[in-house]
Point group: C2
Chain length 258, copies 2
């Protein structure tokens, strides 16, 4: 689940790495973006999404939204009897693996950056890490409107990341699941010496590891269509989903929350 | 634990990614290599190592040896009340993430290749994967003798991998934890178009994910020296360990099994 289309970057990787698994996706597009909202509101929306999906008889829940993960992962994890995975720890773990100089940049929504959730995980794993956080409030609207390839996108990326280019970072975390759609522009701007980490890729791998650890991986493929729900208009959602997932067969259903 | 020094490649990554954790390493150098031994014997040796470490009050056991993982992971995992992680699934998962054309090469010991353990995991995750396995019986003795940089090593790598270069693979799994010490030579031989996967790196990440999932990560660093045991002579083991781990302070203790 995600505040909108961003979590599709995680779903895409899960489908690629675990094609035998059946995915039920929920994007809360009607109330996107979550980033600028008060934490209490994000927490409530996240619970509504979680309860909707829990009722679909799922075996694992992935909170594919950094803002929602920062606000509500721990309490949902405690309340549910299935594994609940967020996107922050996998992204942080991967950054620690890649950095050589321990200087890590973090891009995220206002909510994620304010929560200092990445700093918390990074420092609890490795105290010597230095972090360089930057809120990027213009990125999510760009992606949700399907404009992630435009010249405007290029301009906004350059403006937002100009100070990031001055820092001694060798690793940059895309701390929002919308940002991988801007990854080519971000990589071009920060240059080849900075390793850009997509939390989506890393989260998919942890989904696989934890299902495997619990002995709950599906070992056979069943021809069951993955399901995509949005709280908003299925039209733009469907366009982005079909293009980004490279799958013309995707059908998007509309749903109301709570 | 490993049949010898190979598992140090996994230990090194765990120490790098999780510097707050305390490592107890056991290398069964006296009976290395495991690769050419009958499965029943490998299983018995693996149990002996596992029981030795279990008595040290560990919270997780990593079987950092592909041959031992193939022979005994499942039964040790069932018997122990702590998480037991092998190196085969993490390597397979990572290969699936990286391959674009679904053609994956697998290098391993005779035992690992004969077990078809990688094929089993790869195909259960993704049926469409095509595998190209190759036993490399000369690699482990090279590494255990500390000769992994020599011109002889270069020659043996070229001889062993000549057919691998003919296959349409885009990803190559180093299915033995000794092989990362030969990784520069292997990468040079197969060329830049083939992504070489070290199961050690990937296993360290799964250790982190599973300890985090279980809420068992140490969040503070204690100045406690990691411990290294070998069943063989501590001299060569210590040389390889200090060079490979880049840590002059490593002391190796001798131990008898069972």
């Amino acid at each position: 689940m995600d505040s909108g289309v961003g979590g599709l970057t995680v779903a895409k990787e899960i489908i690629y790495q675990l094609p035998n698994e059946h995915i039920i996706y929920l994007g809360d597009t009607a109330r996107c973006p979550y980033g600028p909202r008060p934490e209490e509101e994000v927490r409530r929306f996240t619970w509504e999404m979680a309860e909707f999906l829990y009722k679909q008889d799922i075996k694992m829940l992935v909170i594919a939204c950094n803002t929602a993960t920062a606000a509500a992962l721990e309490e949902i994890r405690t309340a549910f009897d299935i594994p609940v995975i967020g996107v922050i720890s996998p992204g942080a773990r991967s950054a620690i693996k890649y950095t050589k100089n321990n200087h890590i940049g973090i891009l995220g929504t206002a909510g994620t950056i304010k929560s200092e959730a990445y700093e918390h995980v990074l420092h609890s794993l490795k105290e010597s890490i230095k972090t360089y956080p930057k809120a990027c409030p213009k990125f999510v609207p760009l992606v949700e409107s399907g404009e992630y390839n435009s010249s405007m996108a290029k301009k906004i990326v350059a403006e937002t990341l100009s100070e990031m280019r001055q820092y001694p970072i060798d690793t940059l975390i895309l701390g929002c699941t919308h940002y991988p759609l801007l990854q080519p522009l971000i990589e071009q701007y920060v240059g080849p010496k900075v390793k850009v980490i997509s939390s989506g890729d890393e989260t998919a791998r942890e989904v696989s590891a934890i299902l495997s650890y619990r002995g709950e991986l599906h070992s056979r493929h069943e021809k069951k269509q993955n399901v995509f729900y949005t709280t908003g208009s299925p039209v733009i959602f469907g366009q982005v989903a079909r293009e980004w997932m490279n799958d013309e067969s995707i059908v998007v259903e509309s749903v109301k929350l709570p």
